[in-house]
């Protein structure tokens, strides 16, 4: 055993218990006041299923978009020097810093049917954004972007440009260099960014609530349904939906973690 292992483990377990596990145990305990049949009824209730589909579906789409464009942003910020780069670099963190309600109100104002973006999108392209699931997705893209950029950026900075030069001198084309040399090293970081963006999106409330429209079965996100259950003084019902969300999230994150370790093994590095 390494020296300090006992202390390290004790500290980690105690801290995690205090900050994460005890509140989650409270959640599990409260939802356990429901019987299995009641829990099952809540989990399969058509409205709950719709809300969960909306929350997880939009979070997934937003995470995919963020992964593609976030990697591009990180690439540009790392590989190119241009005036104002530091400012742009700092701007990436703004969605972190901005209170989510402020972001939500700003987005709702922009994308409302009469808003500056909303009017153009609806008038010219016939696309409704504000108060639709598309609006939810846009809000989630906004809050999730920094997660991808900030996880990919440092790894990208570490990649030795010489490896690329070596690949080129060995006759690899640019595409092949990117796909076979750079991407494998980046993949774990990209997956982490994807997972963080996705997880944030699933639970997001503040920025979404203003742009969602909140119509049951159409644009009602699962966190809103939890708030609605609380307003009905139905604490057990609220925690049941929360527990279901938690289980799905945990399962998704677990799969992403597996993918990560698989990618590490497959490409044999990082």
């Amino acid at each position: 055993m390494l020296p300090g292992f006992g202390l390290g483990l004790g500290y980690t377990v105690a801290y995690l218990s205090l900050v994460v596990l005890i509140p989650l145990a409270g959640l599990a305990f409260k939802s356990a006041t429901l019987g299995w049949s009641e829990f099952y009824a809540i989990a399969t209730n058509a409205r709950v299923v719709k809300a969960l589909q909306l929350s997880f579906g939009t979070a997934l789409v937003a995470a995919v978009v963020n992964t593609i464009f976030g990697v591009l942003v990180a690439w540009c910020l790392v590989r190119y020097k241009f005036p104002g780069r530091r400012w742009l670099d700092a701007a990436v963190d703004l969605p972190f810093a901005l209170p989510t309600a402020v972001a939500g109100i700003a987005l709702a104002t922009l994308y409302a049917p009469e808003g500056p973006f909303g009017a153009i999108l609806e008038g010219i392209f016939g696309i409704k954004v504000g108060f639709t699931p598309l609006g939810v997705t846009i809000a989630l893209i906004f809050v999730g972007l920094p997660f991808v950029v900030r996880t990919v950026q440092p790894v990208l900075e570490e990649i030795d440009r010489e490896t690329e030069e070596v690949a080129a001198t060995l006759g690899a084309g640019r595409l092949r260099t990117v796909v076979r040399v750079i991407l494998p090293g980046l993949l774990p970081a990209i997956l982490t960014g994807f997972a963080l963006s996705f997880a944030r999106g699933v639970g997001e409330y503040g920025s979404v609530i203003f742009i969602a429209g909140n119509l049951p079965y159409i644009s009602e996100i699962a966190p809103l349904l939890i708030v609605i259950r609380l307003e009905e003084n139905n604490y057990a019902g609220a925690t049941a939906i929360a527990a279901i969300m938690l289980m799905i999230s945990f399962a998704s994150l677990f799969v992403i973690n597996l993918l990560q370790s698989w990618s590490r093994k497959w490409f044999g590095n990082v």
Partner: protein, 336 residues
């Protein structure tokens, strides 16, 4: 290292403990959203009045948020001495969950413990382009209605009940027709905001919808805020009498030793001064004779029904209409 940490902690604790205490008694009034401006003015008046009478300087702290959220905060331990909420049901929940409020709290003060009332009216765009006159127009195709979600907003529940009350009269109590009408109104709602103020923003600032269903006082504030030339208030033929209740939270007031002040505070709401300030802030005073006649003249006479008369009280209303699977949920359940 450890001793330093503890010294720091101790210093922090000492700071918290030594926060200067106000000289006189302190009240915490836990209220709902659209009463901010009213209680600001009322508190100043009460403090001056109480000082003149007793020589004591009272400090009144306010907490504002959605009514249901505030009730839950009090249940979870927010130490309110008085609550001034939007719905009787919210105070009932506090009474039921904590016993800090007696179950018969409504009989402790005059007028069902509601020193001011309000009702539900419409705000339309200038010139009333869609010709909205009454509730029936809200169910017509092509009319976009802005109202908050009754599940998350106390005000929205009054909106819903007012629509129901009109339909009840219109269709002579035929529940299938009433439900169909209320459903047609909600089918016309492009968005359900979580609170009354959110709906006002959606309607007035984002230009969404043809008609906003809202509190009478919120309607007047909208005209004050966004321009009386841009909007008009429309009074429907019938609406609901909203009685925002006030109550002493005995358990907390006794614990803080401020029962006398808290009682004086609530009584002051019924005093001529309290009534005048309420009318000024667009709440209908229960004793209009005490208020400024010019303020009272702004409130149009309107046929008003009460929740007790029409719906058999709040507990039954909440259970039938707003609980999970209730009538409001049924409206949104897609047909299969």
């Amino acid at each position: 290292m450890r001793s330093k940490l503890f010294a720091g902690l101790a210093a922090a604790l000492a700071l918290v403990a030594c926060t200067p205490k106000a000289a006189g008694p302190t009240l915490l009034n836990v209220s709902y959203d659209p009463t901010r401006e009213f209680y600001e003015a009322f508190n100043a008046d009460f403090i001056a009045d109480y000082k003149a009478k007793t020589g004591e300087t009272v400090t009144v702290n306010m907490s504002h948020a959605g009514s249901g959220k505030q009730a839950r905060a009090v249940i979870d331990g927010l130490e309110a001495d008085v609550v001034t909420l939007a719905l009787q049901n919210d105070v009932d929940q506090i009474a039921k969950a904590t016993q800090k409020v007696p179950a018969d709290w409504r009989s402790k003060l005059p007028d069902n413990s509601a020193p001011y009332t309000s009702t539900i009216v419409f705000v339309v765009r200038a010139g009333n382009p869609k010709g909205i006159k009454d509730w029936g127009d809200l169910g017509q195709p092509g009319v976009a209605v802005v109202t908050p979600n009754p599940k998350t907003s106390g005000g929205a529940r009054w909106n819903y009940l007012a629509a129901w009350a009109w339909a009840n009269k219109q269709f002579a109590g035929d529940e299938a027709q009433i439900k169909a009408f209320v459903a047609s109104v909600y089918k016309n709602a492009p968005v359900l905001d979580t609170g009354a103020r959110g709906s006002t923003t959606t309607f007035a600032q984002r230009n969404i919808g043809d008609v906003l269903i809202t509190w009478e006082n919120e309607a007047f504030l909208t005209l004050d805020e966004f321009g009386a030339d841009k909007f008009e208030i429309v009074y429907p033929s019938l609406s609901i009498l909203a009685e925002p209740p006030v109550a002493l939270v005995d358990g907390n007031a006794d614990k803080h030793g401020v029962r006398a002040v808290a009682e004086a505070y609530l009584q002051h709401l019924y005093s001529p001064a309290g009534q005048r300030i309420a009318a000024k802030h667009y709440f209908r005073p229960v004793t209009p004779a005490d208020a400024d006649p010019a303020d009272v003249a702004r409130f149009k006479p309107i046929d008003l029904v009460t929740v007790d008369d029409l719906f058999g009280g709040w507990a039954a209303t909440q259970a039938k209409h707003f609980d999970e699977g209730g009538v409001f949920d049924q409206i949104y359940t897609p047909a299969r």
